[in-house]
């Protein structure tokens, strides 16, 4: 990988306490939503982030913007460790880094008009005032393909796709360097999706924006991303150039995922061969020892229980996968007294 790194995570962990809250207070266990992620995002690139529902993509995106507390590891943002920022530092960081949220219904305040929502970052950071602000709002709405006339309306008057565009306009208002798009196009029809994808790419070229693009839509991810990272159960299990990961995946989970992409072509779709994963879907509250994918992997073999695979270079230049099929590399498992296996 080349270029300078804008965001860099090392050993990043976000663990949530679960069960047993209430009077006695002591959590019964932890849910490892993000569990040891090493990730570098290069300035100006689009990194696609894909993976199973519940594998920790949103939590990782939120953690990189310090929207959820991290429980371990570090995040460097443009050379500063943001896990230890004070309030002022955080505020500045949040101007430079924006977020388009997954749920367009929950992420907009129903009592605020579109103009109020979109101009919120302008107010928080004291960027524009008065007529200037109104003009900027109109400009942002047009940028995302909404009529400037909608500025006075409330979220309930919009369809899902229209709301999502309001969310994107808000995220762009502070002129961020880094944008996390969490399922930003899922609720849009394909022609509007295409508009938004083109828009994001244009903004990226014009403004040098760095994007983390979280999506279940693998065609869109391949279209927009320079590189793709694949997550499974709190870890990055494969990463590499979009072309390589998209056409020649090296980790069995990525292979299964790509085989399940439905094709918008009835005849081809009826003939498509899907790799059906069997076996237990593990919970992030009880992560399997060794390789996290071993309970469902069609190729599981001896070292998979005992050694937690590390990312290793494999396939195309810049491609890495965490799988022992490419050589057993990783951390041996140690077992705690209560039978929970962990990797130190």
């Amino acid at each position: 990988m080349s270029g300078d790194v804008l965001v860099s995570a090392r050993g990043l962990e976000v663990h949530f306490p679960i069960g047993g809250r209430g009077l006695r207070g002591k959590p019964a266990g932890v849910l490892r939503a993000v569990d040891g992620v090493d990730l570098d995002i290069v300035r100006g690139e689009t990194l696609g982030l894909v993976g199973e529902s519940g594998c920790g993509k949103s939590t990782l995106g939120n953690a990189l913007l310090r929207l959820v507390p991290t429980t371990g590891g570090s995040i460097m943002y443009d050379g500063t460790d943001i896990t230890s920022l004070d309030r002022r530092g955080l505020k500045e960081m949040r101007r430079r880094a924006g977020m388009v949220f997954q749920d367009p219904f929950a992420s907009l305040d129903p009592r605020r008009t579109v103009a109020q929502t979109v101009s919120e970052p302008l107010e928080v950071h004291g960027l524009r005032k008065g007529r200037d602000k109104a003009a900027r709002v109109a400009e942002l709405l047009e940028l995302v393909g909404l009529d400037a006339g909608v500025a006075g309306r409330y979220p309930h008057e919009f369809s899902g796709g229209q709301r999502q565009r309001v969310g994107i306009a808000r995220a762009l208002a502070g002129e961020p360097d880094f944008l996390v798009c969490d399922e930003a196009i899922a609720s849009l029809d394909v022609s509007v999706q295409a508009q938004v994808l083109n828009l994001l790419r244009r903004l990226q070229r014009q403004l040098g924006l760095t994007l983390l693009f979280i999506s279940h839509d693998l065609s869109a991810v391949r279209h927009i991303s320079d590189r793709i990272a694949v997550m499974y159960l709190g870890r990055v299990v494969e990463i590499g150039p979009a072309e390589a990961v998209g056409t020649d995946p090296q980790m069995p989970y990525t292979q299964a995922l790509l085989s399940a992409v439905p094709l918008p072509h009835p005849k081809l779709e009826r003939e498509r061969k899907r790799i059906v994963l069997t076996g237990d879907v593990p919970s992030p509250a009880a992560v399997p020892s060794g390789c996290r994918f071993r309970t469902r992997c069609p190729y599981v073999f001896e070292p998979c229980d005992d050694v937690d695979p590390a990312l290793q270079p494999v396939g195309a230049p810049g491609q890495q996968a965490a799988c022992h099929l490419h050589g057993v590399v990783g951390t041996p498992v140690s077992t705690t007294p209560d039978g929970v296996t962990t990797t130190p």
Partner: protein, 348 residues
């Protein structure tokens, strides 16, 4: 569709007008379709074209203060639109289950997942609490949630977007409804889980003859599950037919534009740069101010007929009318569009 069996749902001339501060908005303008037993009707179309509103109207879920709904919607012999509210509440669940587009607002944030599922199961069936809880855990396992028992005791905000969506799917399936309405039900799911949910719905259809209305932007899903496709634009159906007809030989200029905007998995980069995607230029019409003629007229790349601007084209049969599901489109310009797909439209 089972030949001869009566349809599960028959919608006739459904119209929805909403009161807005800018005057009345005609959001659904004369929608007619049927859903047969075991049949899947996919509804696709422009964002804001009235897909969600049209199904919310069927189940009486639009606020009466703002919405005027007319037409007929007969579910298993009873008209939903004239039904008493109490009866409608009974019908929701075993009669018609719905998966809503917005998972967060359709779950109660202060109740555990278990409470909400158990309530749904007990509301329509005579089961004790323990049995309902067991059934709830089973349902969560069927929609592929890890640790179903543990998930019952968690709150909606502790789940990921896709996990919440699966809880709502589980609630909708809990009563094995005769009609299932899925509004963007799998958009927050990865493709492997999505495939699992689709298998589950197909199983229900095979066992129970459930008719399905599947609203989605994902044309890959449509290709895989739909018997029939309905394309909406500006509150109207502008094209419908079998999945093969609509996706392989689209006729309406909007449908062609929509299919042309798909990112291609095998798209080649030109000198390292991936070309921009095709889009449908322009913006959709405001439902408060619909064009007098064809709804697509302001954006149509091939408008040419004198009537385009002044007269709404009717849904007319293309090709043979003598088939179970005729291919229909609402456009004045049909020349050169019938038969095999044209080079500029359709799929690569």
């Amino acid at each position: 569709m089972t030949a001869g069996a009566p349809p599960v749902l028959e919608v006739e001339d459904l119209r929805v007008r909403l009161r807005t501060p800018r005057g009345p908005a005609d959001v659904v303008n004369g929608l007619s379709y049927t859903v047969g037993a075991g049949e899947t009707v996919a509804v696709v179309g422009e964002s804001g074209s009235g897909k969600s509103v049209s199904v919310l109207a069927l189940l009486g879920l639009l606020p009466a203060r703002v919405a005027t709904v007319t037409g007929r919607a007969v579910l298993q012999g009873e008209d939903l639109l004239t039904m008493k509210p109490e009866r409608l509440r009974q019908v929701r669940g075993p009669g018609a289950g719905m998966v809503f587009q917005d998972p967060m607002t359709s779950l109660n944030p202060v109740l555990t997942i278990g409470r909400q599922l158990v309530e749904g199961i007990r509301a329509h069936g005579d089961v004790d609490k323990a049995a309902a809880r067991r059934r709830a855990a089973e349902l969560l396992a069927e929609v592929g949630l890890p640790d179903p028992e543990g998930t019952l005791d968690r709150y909606p905000h502790e789940l990921s977007g896709g996990m919440r969506q699966r809880v709502i799917i589980a609630i909708a399936l809990s009563n094995s409804p005769a009609l299932l309405i899925a509004d963007e039900a799998t958009t927050a799911l990865d493709v492997t889980v999505q495939a699992q949910i689709i298998d589950l719905v197909e199983k229900l259809q095979a066992e129970r003859g459930t008719g399905v209305i599947w609203i989605t932007h994902d044309l890959g899903v449509v290709a895989g599950i739909a018997d029939r496709v309905l394309v909406m634009y500006g509150g109207r159906c502008v094209e419908d037919g079998t999945v093969d007809d609509v996706l392989e030989n689209p006729v309406h200029p909007y449908t062609r534009g929509l299919l042309g905007a798909l990112p291609d998995l095998a798209q080649p980069a030109v000198d390292g740069v991936v070309p921009d995607l095709a889009t449908v230029p322009g913006v959709p019409p405001a439902p408060t101010d619909l064009p007098k003629g064809c709804v697509f007229w302001p954006r149509c790349p091939v408008r040419g007929d004198a009537r385009c601007e002044t007269e709404q084209p009717p849904l007319a049969v293309i090709g043979s009318a003598d088939v179970a599901l005729p291919h229909r489109a609402a456009t004045w310009c049909l020349e050169g569009t019938s038969g095999a797909g044209s080079p500029e439209g359709g799929l690569r």
